[in-house]
Each structure stands twice: as C-alpha cells, then as structure tokens.
Subunit: 366 residues, 4 copies
Amino acid sequence: MESKIRVGILGATGMVGQRFVQLLENHPQFEVTALAASDQSIGKQFEEACSWRLVTPLPEAVRSLQVQAPQPPLDCDVIFSSLPSSIAGDIETSFAVAGYPVISNSSSHRMDSHVPLLIPEVNPEQLGMIGRQRQRFDCSGGFIVANPNCVVIVMAMALAPLHRQFTVKSIVATTLQSISGAGYPGVASMDITDNVLPFIAQEEEKIENETRKILGQCNSESVEYAQFGVSAQCHRVNVQDGHLVALRVGFEQKPSISEVKHSLASFCGEPQRLGLFSAPKHPLIVREESDRPQPRLDRDAGKGMSITVGRIQKDKVLDFRLVALGHNTIRGAAGAALLNAELLLARGYFDKQNVLDSPEAKRRPA
Amino acid sequence: MESKIRVGILGATGMVGQRFVQLLENHPQFEVTALAASDQSIGKQFEEACSWRLVTPLPEAVRSLQVQAPQPPLDCDVIFSSLPSSIAGDIETSFAVAGYPVISNSSSHRMDSHVPLLIPEVNPEQLGMIGRQRQRFDCSGGFIVANPNCVVIVMAMALAPLHRQFTVKSIVATTLQSISGAGYPGVASMDITDNVLPFIAQEEEKIENETRKILGQCNSESVEYAQFGVSAQCHRVNVQDGHLVALRVGFEQKPSISEVKHSLASFCGEPQRLGLFSAPKHPLIVREESDRPQPRLDRDAGKGMSITVGRIQKDKVLDFRLVALGHNTIRGAAGAALLNAELLLARGYFDKQNVLDSPEAKRRPA
Amino acid sequence: MESKIRVGILGATGMVGQRFVQLLENHPQFEVTALAASDQSIGKQFEEACSWRLVTPLPEAVRSLQVQAPQPPLDCDVIFSSLPSSIAGDIETSFAVAGYPVISNSSSHRMDSHVPLLIPEVNPEQLGMIGRQRQRFDCSGGFIVANPNCVVIVMAMALAPLHRQFTVKSIVATTLQSISGAGYPGVASMDITDNVLPFIAQEEEKIENETRKILGQCNSESVEYAQFGVSAQCHRVNVQDGHLVALRVGFEQKPSISEVKHSLASFCGEPQRLGLFSAPKHPLIVREESDRPQPRLDRDAGKGMSITVGRIQKDKVLDFRLVALGHNTIRGAAGAALLNAELLLARGYFDKQNVLDSPEAKRRPA
Amino acid sequence: MESKIRVGILGATGMVGQRFVQLLENHPQFEVTALAASDQSIGKQFEEACSWRLVTPLPEAVRSLQVQAPQPPLDCDVIFSSLPSSIAGDIETSFAVAGYPVISNSSSHRMDSHVPLLIPEVNPEQLGMIGRQRQRFDCSGGFIVANPNCVVIVMAMALAPLHRQFTVKSIVATTLQSISGAGYPGVASMDITDNVLPFIAQEEEKIENETRKILGQCNSESVEYAQFGVSAQCHRVNVQDGHLVALRVGFEQKPSISEVKHSLASFCGEPQRLGLFSAPKHPLIVREESDRPQPRLDRDAGKGMSITVGRIQKDKVLDFRLVALGHNTIRGAAGAALLNAELLLARGYFDKQNVLDSPEAKRRPA
C-alpha cells in the first residue's frame, strides 16, 4: 500500500478532473494526494469546490482534500493534468521543469515535437520522444506525455490496425459528439435540445493534425507524420457521453471486407500484453448488427475503454466506410491519460533515474 | 373559387399526409376533397381517424370528411400520395390507369424510367418523361410524378447549381436526420433519447441512386444518370424536424470558395420565375456564421421550403465541404409534392388533353 | 406612423429582451428606438452584441441600433425592462424618477405596495396603484408596472375566473418548467438531458407570494392579498418553451365539473373587450382530450398568448385538479409586458398629464 | 449450485422481462431455466426473439434458451411474470392452480383480496394473505404475490415510515415518469422530445388505490385499506429511467422537519435485517442538497434498489412536502419482484409443504 504512486490532479473540479478522481478510486497502483484547480476553488475542501456531476458518489478519500493552486510543488509523484488549454501550456511545463512527470489531457503540448502523443495500443514507441525532453526540462527528470483529443482517440484506435496492414491513403471523418465533451456547464441546453450544432471550435483542425502524428512513423526520438489527408466535419448532438465517428477510408492496398473486420477484431496492443489495470480486454469490439454502435448502448463497453466499431462496408467514393464509437470522458480523456500513466509506470518512467539514464536521453548531447 | 383543383390524399392520416392537409389549407389553387387511408381508418371522419400531431389546428374543412379506401375512383382531380412504399406501387399505378395525375411522395416509382423524379428548381425538364407514361397507362391521361427522398432533396438542391457550373465528380454525404422522418409512431423514444442510431433502412441506397437520377442529363423523354459516385452514411438524431447533411464534394473544375458561395446564393429556378405559390423566395440560403445551419433555427426558413447551407470550406480529401439543412416533412416531402403539383398545374399538365397531345406523348408510337 | 410610442428595451440581448424585439417588429402602436444592455454589449451594434436565439430572423430595424448603457436618458417614451433582478431594482427606479413609464418583467418591484402586479385579463384594477407612485417618483410622471413571474401568469390566468366565481381556498401547484425560463445560456445541457431538476431558485416563494397579490382585492390604491394558501413544487424539464402547471384547487363554494369548465372557457377580460393588439381571442382554451395540454403542441396557441387548460377532474384531496400550460417567454414574459403596455396606452397612461392628474394621484397629499 | 431455485419468466422479451434476466444473472439463489413470451417469439432462441435494450450484454446462459408459450407446465420451480395486464390475469392464475408460486409484476391481481401487494420493507405481514389462496388454487401449493405499480413503490417506500410514526391523513402526488415505464417501443419519440405528456393511462387510479392497500392494516389474512385520501397527477417526461414523485403529505400528528428526516433516514426493514441478496443497504437515502433527487444522478443508488428523498420542507397547504425518486424498472418492477421472491424464499414459501401447512392456510376451512 505504501508503494502507491501519489497523483496530483490539475483541473480537478472539471469534468475530466472528476473522471480522474473517479477512476483512481481503488486503483491498485495510484492514489490521489493533491488536487489543484482555479482561483475560486483554492483553499476549499474538494467536496465544496467541486460540483460533482458523476453518477457514482464522490470518493471518501478526496472529499476533504484542500484544493491548491496549480503550481509546483505539490505533494505527489506524478501530475495528471486536465487544465483548459488556455492555461495548460505554461503550467504543465513548470511542473516538468520541477521534475514531475506530467500526464496531460490538454491540447497545449500535443503537437510539440518532443511530446509523445500517446495511445498505448497504437504507438507506445512514441515514448522514445521523452528523451528529447531531457535538456528542455533541465535534466530534472520531469517530462510531458499527452493523450490525443477525445474524438481522435476513437478514430485512431479504429484506424491503427488498418493503417498497419493496408496503409491508409485518406480519411473522411464526420463526427457526432456528445455534450460532456464540452465540459461543464459547456453546451447550453437551449442550443442542443431538439437541435444539432454543426461546429466545435478547433475540433476539425485537431482531428486533421493529431491523427497524422499519432499514426506517423516514430524513429527513435522523432516522429514523421503520416502522409494521408484527413477531412473532418464535427457536430454536437444531444447525447450525454460517447463520441460517434462516421469514417470513410482509402487504402494503398485493397483489402476485402473480411480482412478489414479481422484486422479490427484481432487488434491488440501493449496494454493487453502487459495486463495494465485499465486496459480493456478488447480494445476494439466489432459489432455485426446493422444498427450499432450506439452511444447509449456501447459507450460503456470495456468499462468505457473499448472502442466499438460497426457498419463496415465497401464505399462508393473511398474504399471502406465504418462507424466507430468511444466514451469521450473515459477512453477519450481521463481513462486515456490513466492508461498512459500505467504504461509509463510499467516501463519504469516514474523512476527518475530511468528517465535520465534512458538510451534516448543519453543519446542526446548533454 | 369554383375553379380550384380538387385533391385526394392517399395516406392522409400519416405524418406526410397531415402535412399535405396543413399546407393545402387556404391554398389558392387546390382544395382537399377526398381523404384515403388504411383499413382501420376507413369510414371514420378524418378528425377521429387521424391522430393529429402538428402544432397548427386540424383545418375545419377536413374534420368531418369521411376517410375512404385508397382506390379509384375518388372525388378529386389529382392524387397526392404519401402511402407507405410497401403498398404505394400498385395503388398509385391503379390511379394513373384510371386517369388521375398522381403526385407521389412514396419511393415505389422513383426509379422507374418513365417517372420524373422532380425537384422543380433542379430538373423541371424531367416532366418530359411523362410522355412515356401514355401507353403504360392506357392513354388515360393519368400519370405519376415522384418527388425524391427527403434527404436527397436537401442534398440535390445544394448540389444542383454546383453540378451545373463545376461538374460534380464525387459526393460524400453523412446525414443527421430527424425523428419525424420515420413517421409516427416511428422511432421509439427509448432508442433515441441520449442516443444516436447509425442506421436508417434503405436510406443510404436511396441517396446513392436517386441523386444520380435527379442530377442526370434529361434528353427529351429519358434521363441519363449522372456519373459521379455517391457515398452515404445515415444517422438518426434526437431532433423533431430537419435533416442535416454534411457534404464533401469533388468537382471536375476547381472553383474558388467565393465561386462556390456565389453559385449557391444566386441559385434560382422555375418555381421562382413562375412565382409558384409554395416557392420560397430563396431556394438556397447561404449562412456565413460558423455554427449554422442548425435544425431548430433553420428548418423553417422560407416556410420550410428553403434549404440552408453553411460551413463552406475547402476540403483536404475532396475539393469542398459544406453542411446543408432542410425541413424533411415540408421541403423534403409534402411541400415538395405540392410544389411539383403547382409546377404541373402551371405547365398545363392537369388538363388531360394537354398530356395526351403533348409533343412527348405524340412522338411515341400509338 | 409618426405617432408610434417609442420603446427602449433594457436587457435587450437576453432571452426576454429578444422576445421584446421580436414581438415589437411590425407592432402598430410601438417601435423600438433604444436598446440597452450590460457592459460588454455597450457601444456595439445590436446585431453584434446579441446572440440571437429565436427562429424568426433578427428584425432589420434594430440590427444596427447601438446598444447603450441602461440608464436615463434614453431616446424613447417608455421603458420595457427585462433586466436580471440583481440589478433591475435601482435601474428601473431611476427611469421612473426620470419620468419614464417602466413596464417591467423583472422580479424586483413585483411585491412593492405601490406597483401593480398586472395581468390585464385578471386585475386591470391594480392600475389604480400607480397613483401611489406619484410622490415616490417626484411627480415626474414616471411609474413602474410589473408583470408576474412566468409560471404565476399561467396559474393565475387559469385560477382567476374560478376564484371570482367559487372563491379559492387553497392551491397546490406542481410545475414542469421549460429551459428557456432560465435564460441563455441558463441550464447546462449535461444537467437536463435525460434528467429532471427538482429545484428552481426562489421560484416556489415567488409563486406562493405573487399569486396572492394578483388575485387579491384591490381597493382604490392598495391591494389586500388573497387569503388562500399556496403550495408550490417546481421542476425543470427538458422542454424548450412552455411551462406546465399541475394544479389542485380547493374552493369555498363547491362547483360541478361543468361549472368549472364553463367558467374557464368563457373567461374574457379587458384586453379582449378593448381589442388590444396582442390580446388572444381566447385567453383560456379548454381542451377535452385526455392527453392535453402538451408544451410542444399547445404553447403557441393564440400566438403564445393563450393559456391552455385540460385534465379537469374532481380531486380526492382538494376539490378539483387540472393542468394549465402557457408559453413562458411570450405570455409569461415579453408578451405579458407588451399586453400591459397596450392596456396602459389604451387607458391613457402614456400621456404624462393623465398620470399626474389621475384621481388616484390627486387623492394623495402633495 | 444444484440447490438454486429454477425460475421461469413470463413476458421475457419485454423491458421488465429483460431486467429479470439481467438481475438474475449470477444470482446466488435463483437461476433462469424457462422463458416464455407471446406468439411471435415462441420456438425461437431467446437471443433472436428478444430485442435486448439494456446496456449490459445479454447473459450467455439464456442466449440459446428456447422461448416457450406462457402456460404450465414450464421447467422451473417459480414463475416471475411481467406479462401485459391484458393477458396476465388468467395465465398467472393457471400457473398458481398448477402449483407454481407466481411472483407477478403485472397489475391484474394486485387488488385481489387474497393477493399480497408486497414491498418487503413496508408490509411483509401481507404474506399472511397467501393462506387465503389455498382453496382458490385447489391446495396445489401454488400462489400469487404481486408487487405494486412502479410509481406506487417509490411513494409507498417514502411514506411508510412516516405513516407508521405520524399517521398519514392525505397524500397529493404529482409524478414525472420516465419513458421506460411504458415498455418498448412504448412512447413515440415525436411525442416526448421537447415535450411533456400529462397523461398515463390508468396510472392515477392505480396510485390512488394501491397506496391505500399497501399501507393498510393487515390482520392475519386480510388487509384493511388505509383511510387517507390520495390525489395523483401523472406526467411522462423525456427521461430514460427513474420516476420522480413530488409529494405533499398531511399527518394526524404534527412532526418537526427533523423528525420527518430522521424517520426517513433511519427506515429499515425485513430485507435489511435478513440480509436479502437484492436488498439495498439503505432503502431510503435522504439528500440535503437543494437540487436532489435527480433521475440521472440518483436512479442507480443502491444498484437501483434505493429510493432517494429530498427537498423535505414544511408545506403551506398540507403539512409537509418532499420529492422521492426511484428506478422504475429495477426497484419499481423487476428488482421489486426479485426482492419479493428472496423474502418468500427466506420465509420458506417455496417449500410447498410449508405453504399448505402454514398456520394461515390451516386456519381456513378445508
């Protein structure tokens, strides 16, 4: 018990922060010891500061933790950040400089050339980029690892095995995204009841950029972006949780439908091989019914960590089409960051010496 | 007043039937004189037979009309049909054989080679196909004109001016369709509350086929389908009325954004030129705001007869992307059929002799 | 045309402010000449300052009006106020002191002993209270007239004829209120999708207090509150517009069901007798169907100005029960204030001399 | 394992039938061995026959069970019935006559004078009524036990401790009920999106009658109905699961607020004392927050078996008001029936000899 990694959460009162708190309750390897949030929460007990929106009760262990300012030092071994991107950049850097590993869900550092944009099943090799952070963060041993945008995770999971086997040439993604993706209070009910919003700020750009980094070629410490084109159109729909992505994909090779289905259904990665605590048994679930996936019925598959794929068909413009769905605040945010942390722990990255002595770090000029 | 065209409505108790009744109240050229529906309604007064779901009151004039069986003869000059496609085919034919012009909203005859698939702004030249119906219907003077599927109308309206000017090469359409499109009772609330359904039976096929007929080349009496590929993915969302279509389009020519916008905003057709009663002043409305069109705010534009287009951008996979929206039970169904009828009336097609003597009809061997 | 009363709207960018703008477009007696709102809007054109949420387009005439600070003087003859209650009190008073008639939708002055809490069909005699405002506002000729809380208007309309005829002894009101009642952005979509909120701040208190003032006995310049008890439980439900109130009522007299229905259906007041522009033909509509009123189907009755009543039954605890429904931002807010203004105009209250010379005003010591 | 009670489910493909199947998966005392449903399902494997609507997967053990006709004999020890009330009456009786204990969720026998209307925490003494069933069912050892209507369970749980301590004089109940209460497909989405339905067929009558039986005085084999008046107004709202009841209550005694809260919070019954498998630790949960209970946040409390109560206040017409909420298809239906079965098992009622030899049974003339 004494050996648990102590976690500090930045942005703890927000929707993703609350999911961090929820998912870390009873975690065998991590425990929450510090909570930080914005000015109006500082100094309050978490229970008071946080308008808890989740269905499970606020965990006892954090109720009376006092909310602190989001700046080092915090009494913890590792930082989970779900700060708004407007302020996340500098604050996350300051924690890395101060020697903390920072597991970030914000968008600030995702496209930095030294920051892994990590999905453990998809591109664990991007951890090699951590070496490039050595100098930048004054050999403090601190570093930043980012998880992608919520909808990008859903897409990239579904596309990863197909890209490996058949080489993706182009992606057309149309999203139907849930309201929890906008945080709380987020979307006004007057805007979304009996309605659809055909716009989510900067989302289309994130999808078009991040997907190419995630599925890029990682050579030791740097990543070469994938060369396919990505087109994204994003919509907000009146669903609590669960982002659905309608995808068309063009490939270099021309697989059959059964090859595509087999590629998806047999997908498996590092988290499954290592038996990480938050790893779903099936990272991708292929449904054969004509009317699946559906947000309400499929978002909680694999405790919210599985991506469900369905409606796989030949397409008349690109090669294939399919629909993918995942839980945006679990697999798309807090659960994604937690799985990243579990992989880092399994690989020894929370042992500071390991980071500084890693082959990648050493290879760089001191 | 005595000169109004007398309308009989088939499927009068359904959602589209109700819209027919609503739109024909106070119409200067048409009046409802016969209502037909399925077995359980026959013999009842319309008021009893119909579970009226519209916000405006059930028009006085039809309350006590007795519902009849959907078979000729009916006391009317023209038939508006919104029968379910499972039974529409034979019934509509029997009315045409009996000499009635049939304005059909059902899918049964849409792809028939002798049936115009008409959107008055887009392809009034398809009326020439009526000539081919002469023999088929025993020179009765009866004929069938169909309007397209609801979502196809939205798309085809937005694509028609672009196809004329820049020649469409490929279309990728992803739809977010409202629940009224499934009729009443239609979609179960348990299926759609807090949810999205990624499947609408036969919708993707209809979109892929009908679009190519509508935008095809019409030479005298026959139509050569457009050669572009169409890819459709359809979703049901929790919206009362209004189908939204996210479109990517590839062109032969390469227009600029401003050329695309100008093409759309200046679109105008036969209904506008003829001043047809149900014609919207602007068949296409181009919105510049980043978050439009929205179903709740834009479906009623032009009294539900305008299509609203927005989010026009260059695309990274095809050439352009944009979002189009229209009212599915007005412009996409009852209003579409009514506008067809108004065009037929203006062109003299409700005068039987004109149909039989038309150049198209004469050209065919007797 | 030159004789139109010039209206200044305070809180013009909010939901009720927008309804004022909408309802005043094409009004034969009023025209909007001044718009005022909070700091971040001041100096902007209304078009930019306002996030227009209504389905009809933003009226041309106000698009380029510059938003001003909500303080006198404004270039107008009368003030319509929909300021938030936190600031409305002092600002409305300052306009009255400056000589403006203030038609207020805010709650600040509703319970003031000198302010009529007016529903024109119900208690036009409360206009007599304006006399008491003479001294208070320095004989400026300015005064304040308030309309009640949105849900109170729905209830009070339905109860007024019953109270007159049968004397209400007790009222148990349970509300299902729409999201537009909370303004924009108001209720977070995450809070109301697939949910009900059993709490609306201060609403139960307002219902319990205002109802007794509205239905009180007005003797010349003062009102004696009605003596019945009122119990209110308020809920927010996922409906765009339309407040529904489930009512039980106890009476002194014991009417039959048909007497209750007749009392409601034949209700008619000053606005109907005077033919005021916004007066609905039927202030109360009694529906006999077992499943009416419904917000979506009945809120727009009488252009949003009629109250629809249904499910009238004998009750097992109090005497009767029934369900009443009205449009909360029209009859419950902007339309209510406008009808108040129309009554004031018809009675000559916008002629300053009339106010100062009125019998009520004269009776008070100078 | 061999000692598990074998359960046959009537109406297995419906919403409550599915909940039975879900709740019985991995139950330590019961296992599903027979499934019966209506004509169109008979002969099919359950997997095919059932349109599974729940979020958890269809349990392996029942996937390939063949659906049978709902008539004895079935290969099971006890019957769980969720048949529609239109057919439940005779079928349930035929199973009782054939010697099966019938745990019924249908309304057919609820008001029968020999059928316990059982809520284990509230009135376990009604089991004594089973003795009266001896002759009626030919001493077969079979019998019927009913659970109340879903919304009545929520109310009766909240009122039971208050009635015991302070004697209820009158109840005014206004409900906001979820769509799953109407079964599947049930409520049409067009009826409930952006809407409220102020009518649920026969619901108000059930509430007014069943509540008085449940909280009646049970003397050996018969029950004397409680004498309080009950007024119910029922509404359907757009919520998936969870019935909310706004209650006003009049008492003989006049408790303080803290006495009321203490009475509710300390409520505990037979299921808790016996440690029944499905018994929630806290049958009533009292929340102090001003905005609870809420369906989405509170329906799953105690795995859907706890009732959450909040907004406890003095009332201006009756004595107190409060809001109660429970999960309608778990505590209000399938879970209620299962808890009934667990109590019957613990009391030995599934041992036929016990039923026939029970003191109640013996007391009756043979």
